[in-house]
């Protein structure tokens, strides 16, 4: 683009006198005649043309020797198509900015127009009188109507108005058109348009979660078309709706379509989300179930068989849901014979089903089954026997080790003064440990763990630490209160002891 003094010249311009010669041949002959003295320039000019031609001809695959002939013949014809061919790559300019500025202007215009319409619509809808006369006045108050005497022909179909084709005003821009060119905007639809986006979304969401099928219709790309069609059908009952012109309706509709495309969630997505939530539930329950099942099948009474059975029932139900839902996803849309899912959409559906079956196979089918009541009791009995045997063995070992200890002590010539050995089977283990601790040379350790008071204080400190970590404030409080009590009691006892020893 050449810019000289704000004026732009285009065409076959003579570089010297800037006259437009119309064609390349005329320009050349003009230059030879008028500006003959400038031989160098002429030569350069000719070369320029020649070079360009040669390059283009070479690209066409013609032998270079023929180039002269062809250029001559073309000169004779007086038309060189090579000049109109795409140029070889030279300078590159970005027009994005220009494009963007033009586009944004355009968009802004539409947005402003649409918003204006929406504001008017909102004003009209707000306390719209039901009485036709009052309603008309209210509408005119919001949007001033064009004087109908000024309009002779309908601006959209350019037919004249008469008794049978009466003039009507668009309620949104106030322009005049005939009945056939006007549409009735349903008031409910209009209200939905003016309602804030969030509200519309919320309502569509609740709609979708309760009954998924109508969503299918709504998310369909032709939904806006449908609503337009329904509007056209409703023309005869115009008084229930708002009469609008084609342009206004189109603006509103395109905005609606945009909004819908933003909020619309295809049914597949909803199904898939539900599927994922089922899988998550199952994943949460699985570890607990496996733990319970393993424990139960070993005959351990840690968990109850009934609890595990209810958990198993839950898991089964989840598996059934996952299976049926993934099947539904697989056959989604296949009932539509005209436009069945194809390509990537179909692939997606198949893969979701494959993933679901893989999940079921890997996670759910391999689950261990719970033992039956009878089997469980049997296992429990067996375990009890084993435990008995183990306890006996441990007792034997404990006795043996004690004997050995006593032996050792006797050898050293010492007699343990304090052995609290009870018959109680649960304490056998504990006591042997104490015995060991009692006779290790580390007396300091013995001291610190021997006093139950000190032991409990240590316990409490540990509990407090844990409770603090778990952010259980009131528990920390209760524990600290107890620790204080203990400490007081402990000091009191110490004091007492000292006094006793003093006296």
């Amino acid at each position: 683009m050449a810019e000289g003094g704000g004026m732009v010249l285009e065409g076959f311009l003579c570089p010297v006198c800037k006259a437009d010669l119309g064609t390349a041949v005329k320009l050349l002959s003009h230059f030879e005649k008028e500006h003959n003295e400038d031989k160098d320039v002429l030569q350069a000019f000719k070369d320029l043309f020649g070079k360009a031609k040669k390059k283009i001809l070479k690209n066409e695959g013609l032998p270079s020797g023929d180039s002269d002939v062809s250029t001559k013949s073309r000169k004779v014809i007086g038309y060189s198509p090579s000049l109109y061919e795409p140029q070889c790559i030279g300078a590159i300019r970005s027009h994005t900015k220009l494009f963007a500025s033009v586009r944004s202007q355009h968009l802004e215009h539409y947005t402003v127009e649409t918003n204006k319409l929406l504001i008017r619509l909102d004003k009209i809808l707000r306390d719209l009188p039901s009485d036709p006369l009052k309603r008309k006045a209210h509408e005119q108050e919001v949007v001033p109507w064009v004087d109908e005497k000024m309009v002779r022909l309908c601006p959209s179909c350019s037919r004249s108005f008469h008794l049978a084709r009466r003039k009507h005003h668009c309620r949104l821009c106030g322009f005049v058109m005939c009945n056939d060119c006007s549409y009735s905007l349903n008031l409910d639809v209009a209200r939905k348009m003016t309602s804030p986006i969030t509200q519309a979304e919320a309502s569509s969401d609740t709609h979708g979660s309760s009954v998924p099928t109508p969503k299918l219709k709504r998310s369909n790309s032709s939904s806006s078309l449908n609503s337009v069609l329904s509007l056209v059908e409703g023309v005869h009952q115009i008084d229930t709706g708002l009469r609008v012109c084609n342009d206004c309706l189109r603006l509103l509709e395109s905005r609606e379509a945009l909004r819908e495309s933003r909020t619309a969630r295809p049914i597949l997505l909803q199904f898939y989300e539900r599927l994922r939530s089922y899988m998550q539930d199952a994943n949460q329950l699985l570890p607990t179930y496996i733990l319970m099942c393993n424990s139960l099948s070993c005959g351990e009474p840690t968990y109850q068989l009934k609890e595990a059975q209810t958990l198993w029932g839950k898991l089964l139900r989840l598996a059934e849901h996952i299976d049926s839902l993934s099947k539904k996803i697989l056959v989604l849309g296949s009932a539509d014979t005209e436009n069945p899912p194809r390509g990537r959409a179909l692939l997606l559906q198949q893969q979701i089903r494959a993933a679901a079956t893989a999940f079921l196979r890997n996670e759910m089918l391999g689950l261990p089954t719970l033992p039956t009541e009878a089997k469980y009791l049997e296992m429990q009995e067996q375990r009890r026997q084993e435990l008995k045997a183990r306890i006996q063995q441990e007792q034997m070992e404990a006795m043996a080790s004690m004997q050995a200890q006593k032996q050792k002590i006797r050898e050293r010539g010492q007699e343990p003064s304090r052995i609290t050995y009870t018959k109680d089977r649960d304490n056998v283990h504990q006591d042997t440990v104490l015995l060991d601790a009692g006779w290790t040379p580390d007396t300091a350790r013995l001291f610190s763990t021997d006093d139950p008071m000190v032991q409990q204080m240590n316990n409490l400190k540990h509990y407090i630490k844990e409770a603090k970590l778990a952010h259980k404030v009131d528990e920390v409080e209760a524990l600290e209160r107890n620790l204080e009590e203990l400490q007081e009691e402990y000091w009191r006892q110490q004091e007492q002891k000292r006094q006793e020893s003093d006296s």
Binding site: E300, P301, T302, Y303, Q304, E307, L387, T420, D424, R425, D426, N427, Q430, P452, M453, Q455, Q456, N459, L460, Y463, A470, H471, K472, D474, E475, A478, L479, R481, N482, E485, L486, E489
Partner: protein
């Protein structure tokens, strides 16, 4: 706030009138199943090889009655003789106590009676005492007859149930019975101890607020 585990439901502040907090202590001879009882009540678990308690363990559990939420601060004391000196620290100021014995062990029942006497002498006069005959699943090697324990409990005004931590029999029931028997307002709770049945919250919706116009 962090999740407070356990099978009991979280109280719903809209419907719950008040929340009461009570200190409960478990006493009894060693290896009668005090810790197992608490573990079953708080976590719904049971371990055959429950280690013996050192000192005292502390657990909390919340139960919902019709209009009140009762939060138990449970002190599970060690049964071994050498920890006996700690016990007064825990039953002092407690609003409830469960004295546990083993139905297959007559000695443990005798020890339980000693605990009852000690509580009657030294604990708060309004303390709610429950007697639990644990290990009811081992009824075929029973040494303490149910009637005998029931009669003793009636004479001394104790709640009584035979429980089993292993099968969960009567575990929740005994705690619920205690919760029901505990006084739910400050006036009813006795003198002396400072933290008896503390009422933690007075909710806005209570009928006291006569100034409110709506409802």
């Amino acid at each position: 706030m962090a999740n407070r585990g356990g099978p009991a439901q979280r109280p719903n502040p809209q419907t719950q009138g008040k929340i009461c907090q009570f200190k409960l202590v478990l006493l009894g001879e060693s290896a009668v199943g005090k810790s197992s009882l608490v573990l079953r009540f708080v976590k719904g678990q049971f371990h055959e090889y429950q280690e013996s308690t050192i000192g005292a363990a502390f657990l909390t559990q919340t139960v919902c009655l019709e209009d009140t939420t009762v939060k138990f601060e449970i002190w599970d004391t060690a049964g071994q003789e050498r920890y006996h000196s700690l016990a007064p620290m825990y039953y002092r100021g407690a609003q409830a106590a469960i004295i546990v014995y083993d139905i297959t062990n007559m000695d443990s029942f005798g020890r339980a009676k000693v605990w009852v006497k000690e509580l009657q002498r030294q604990a708060s006069p309004n303390i709610v005492i429950a007697l639990a005959g644990n290990k009811a699943d081992l009824a075929n090697s029973r040494a303490v007859e149910c009637e005998e324990a029931q009669t003793y409990a009636d004479e001394n005004g104790l709640l009584f149930m035979e429980t089993s931590a292993k099968t969960a029999k009567n575990v929740n029931e005994i705690f619920l019975a205690i919760a029901k028997k505990l006084p739910k307002n400050e006036q009813a709770s006795g003198a002396g101890s400072t933290n008896q049945g503390r009422r933690l919250q007075e909710l806005d919706g209570s009928p006291k607020a006569a100034g409110n116009c709506c409802k």
